[in-house]
């Protein structure tokens, strides 16, 4: 039993959890921007998926994983723009449109995979991103093991989440985003371009989710597989709620999810007599428990999910 515990709860599990938190935390921050501006973004799942796909596509054709990263952000941003167009201009119900977008993306990526590579399952191997070592950091005990050598996207995630927090809570633009989602009438009276703010926030959420997606396909793997996002967009949404629509809170919640996921993977490899199906349930169960327990004290932005028309 002690063996089991020491195999599960060790520094490698923590390092894995940091890696696995990266896509969820990026998408959760996307959710924070979108929802702070009043747009419920169930489409995060599709945005992660298109990012994962576009990354492999870019790396496949140019051989450069960094071009893949760029393409993933473009693709995620484009999908964000489409989602923004439907929810803001065409007044689609946010949740229904988001689910539609996710189904569309799943079909589209699988279709393209079959057209381009003749397989619905997985893409060919491409160049993935290489891990980098941070000189001084990697020699510090514990921290060095956790953060010394990681994918560049992991470091980027930490920088972006912190910048996102600054942008949302410490700048005039962030204030405008929050007012738009909280009280669009007041924002309108102050002369804030509500739709502009919402387009900006939703497109940004697409770019961030696309970046999260490319971490899945090029971060420590080097291929794309069908439905690679596997519910992470919904977990990100739950992490965003648990994190109180705050990028830093979202990161903490994402870490909780990914830690469970990392434990789950370790338990499976240990063969301790618990059926793998039951172990695999852990992250999904945790999402439900967190969501059911958290909402008591969280309060979503006041105008979330509503359509606002200037002057109405």
């Amino acid at each position: 039993m002690n063996d089991v515990i020491s195999t599960i709860f060790n520094i490698n599990t923590l390092a894995a959890a940091i890696r696995m938190a990266t896509p969820i935390a990026l998408a959760a921050m996307g959710g924070a921007f979108s929802e702070r501006s009043g747009i419920i973004n169930i489409g995060l799942e599709g945005m992660i998926l298109i990012g994962a796909f576009a990354g492999v596509l870019g790396s496949f054709y140019t051989g450069s994983p960094w071009f893949g990263v760029f393409l993933a952000m473009v693709a995620g941003g484009l999908l964000g723009a489409i989602f923004a167009l439907f929810t803001i201009k065409f007044k689609a119900d946010h949740v229904v449109a988001g689910v539609g977008l996710n189904i569309l993306t799943l079909g589209f990526t699988t279709w393209l995979m079959q057209i381009l590579w003749g397989s619905r399952g997985t893409s060919p191997n491409v160049n993935g991103l290489k891990e980098i070592s941070i000189p001084v950091l990697k020699d510090i005990p514990v921290i060095g093991k956790l953060l010394g050598t990681q994918s560049p996207l992991v470091y980027l995630m930490f920088i972006l989440v912190f910048s996102g927090w600054v942008l949302l809570f410490k700048t005039p633009l962030g204030l405008r985003i929050r007012i738009t989602g909280e009280h669009p009438e007041a924002a309108d009276t102050l002369g804030i371009n509500i739709k502009g703010i919402q387009y900006f926030s939703v497109i940004l959420s697409g770019i961030l989710s696309g970046l999260g997606g490319v971490y899945l396909s090029l971060g420590h793997l080097n291929w794309f597989s069908m439905n690679m996002s596997a519910g992470r967009g919904y977990m990100a949404l739950a992490a965003n709620i648990f994190g109180q629509w705050n990028p830093l809170g979202g990161l903490a919640a994402s870490f909780l999810f990914s830690f469970t996921d990392a434990i789950q993977m370790r338990l499976q490899s240990l063969n301790i007599g618990i059926a793998s199906e039951l172990i695999q349930m852990l992250p999904y169960l945790l999402t439900i428990v967190v969501l059911a327990g958290a909402v008591v004290r969280s309060r979503p932005p006041e105008a979330l999910g509503k359509h606002y028309e200037t002057g109405k």
């Binding site: 439907f86 065409f90 007044k91 799943l106 079909g107 279709w111 519910g231 919904y234 349930m281 969501l291």
Partner: protein, 361 residues
């Protein structure tokens, strides 16, 4: 005229467009975008859509395959529509149908010595009951804690599929390499309408359930209460309806209907429970409900359409070699377009202008 009044008038005009025409426009746009994708990928569009149409309606056998694919979609589409009526978005049809299917198979195998008249209703009941229980969980969580059902039902899909696989493997598996139960007894199987087509009278059961749900919403006070909560929870509560109770009820009924999708698959098509048997009927049900505008009879028409796309899509893949995933794309597009009322309005204005020389007011 102030801008706000204009918008309100526009929305009024919009509700004047009948739901049917509205849905048709959405389908046509989706199929047009599909055609563009087929063309861009270097395939022959006419060849593709001919095979799609012929594969769905070309002869009696193809038509029967369309109806076969329609049957589970009636149940899963209806399940989503029932939730919508109460303002809930049940994405958990997939998990609910797996539970329904497993429960049906277990009951049919356990009571295999009973005769059809008892065993068939009993097996169906088991599927509906267990599907309903699985649906009750996100309903209860939503009512008690506010946990959004979109996320909880999706998580419960993963958990449901894993849990049914776990139960199957450990307690009900037939010896052999495939994770499946033994075949259910003849007495629990639904009879085929046309030999060798696997099309059974399950489709009539689907229509029957549509009638029941339609009556529930139109003629009963429970149906009225459910819809009142969907339209305005605060007003419903003021009128003495308990929204929490209605949310749980709605999810139980919704889950039970989705469970029946699994039951009829086991009793009519597979004759056993097999892991991962559903190609996503629960998710296609979302498209069916949205396209059917959450009306029971609308769901029937939409299920027919998606059944046809599914059956036709298979022959399109077989004969024109075009990936069937195109149908998933069409489904996603249909949901997006039906969800966006202002888009159709803008399109119809553009259309009017191009015909009427700019006199759109």
């Amino acid at each position: 005229m102030p801008e706000g009044v204009k918008v309100i008038n526009r929305l009024k005009n919009l509700s004047g467009i009948s739901d049917l025409i509205y849905s048709l426009i959405a389908i046509i746009i989706a199929l047009l975008i599909g055609a563009v994708l087929i063309f861009v990928s270097g395939y022959n569009v006419i060849d593709a859509y001919y095979n799609l149409f012929y594969g769905a309606f070309g002869n009696i056998y193809n038509l029967s395959q369309t109806l076969l694919k329609t049957t589970p979609l009636i149940f899963t589409g209806l399940a989503v529509a029932i939730g919508f009526k109460t303002g809930l978005f049940n994405i958990g049809g997939e998990g609910q149908l797996y539970w329904g299917a497993l429960a049906t198979a277990i009951v049919a195998l356990t009571f295999s010595n009973l005769n059809s008249f008892i065993l068939i209703p009993l097996s169906l009941l088991a599927g509906a009951l267990v599907g309903g229980i699985w649906g009750a969980i996100p309903g209860y969580l939503r009512a008690k804690t506010g946990a959004h059902e979109v996320i909880t039902t999706i998580m419960l899909n993963y958990i449901g599929i894993l849990a049914t696989t776990f139960l199957l493997k450990n307690y009900f598996k037939e010896p052999g390499p495939v994770d499946q139960t033994a075949l259910i007894p003849e007495a629990a199987r639904l009879t085929e309408l046309i030999p060798y087509t696997r099309l059974t009278w399950a489709i009539f059961l689907g229509v029957f359930v549509i009638i029941i749900i339609d009556l529930l919403f139109k003629k009963t006070s429970l149906g009225y209460d459910l819809q009142a909560v969907g339209e305005n929870p605060a007003a419903a509560e003021y009128a003495g309806i308990r929204p929490e109770k209605m949310i749980v009820f709605s999810m139980i009924i919704s889950g039970a209907v989705a469970g029946l999708a699994g039951s009829t698959m086991v009793m009519g098509v597979l004759h056993r429970f097999i892991t991962n048997f559903s190609p996503g009927y629960g998710f296609t049900g979302i498209a069916v409900a949205v396209l059917g505008r959450n009306k029971p009879w609308g769901v029937l028409l939409a299920a027919l359409l998606f059944g046809a796309l599914e059956a036709g899509g298979m022959s399109m893949q077989l004969f024109a070699k075009i990936p069937m995933d195109l149908m998933t794309i069409v489904q996603g597009l249909v949901i997006l377009f039906v969800a966006a009322p202002a888009l159709i309005q803008i399109l119809s204005e553009v259309f009017k202008k191009s015909r009427g020389g700019g006199y759109s007011e």
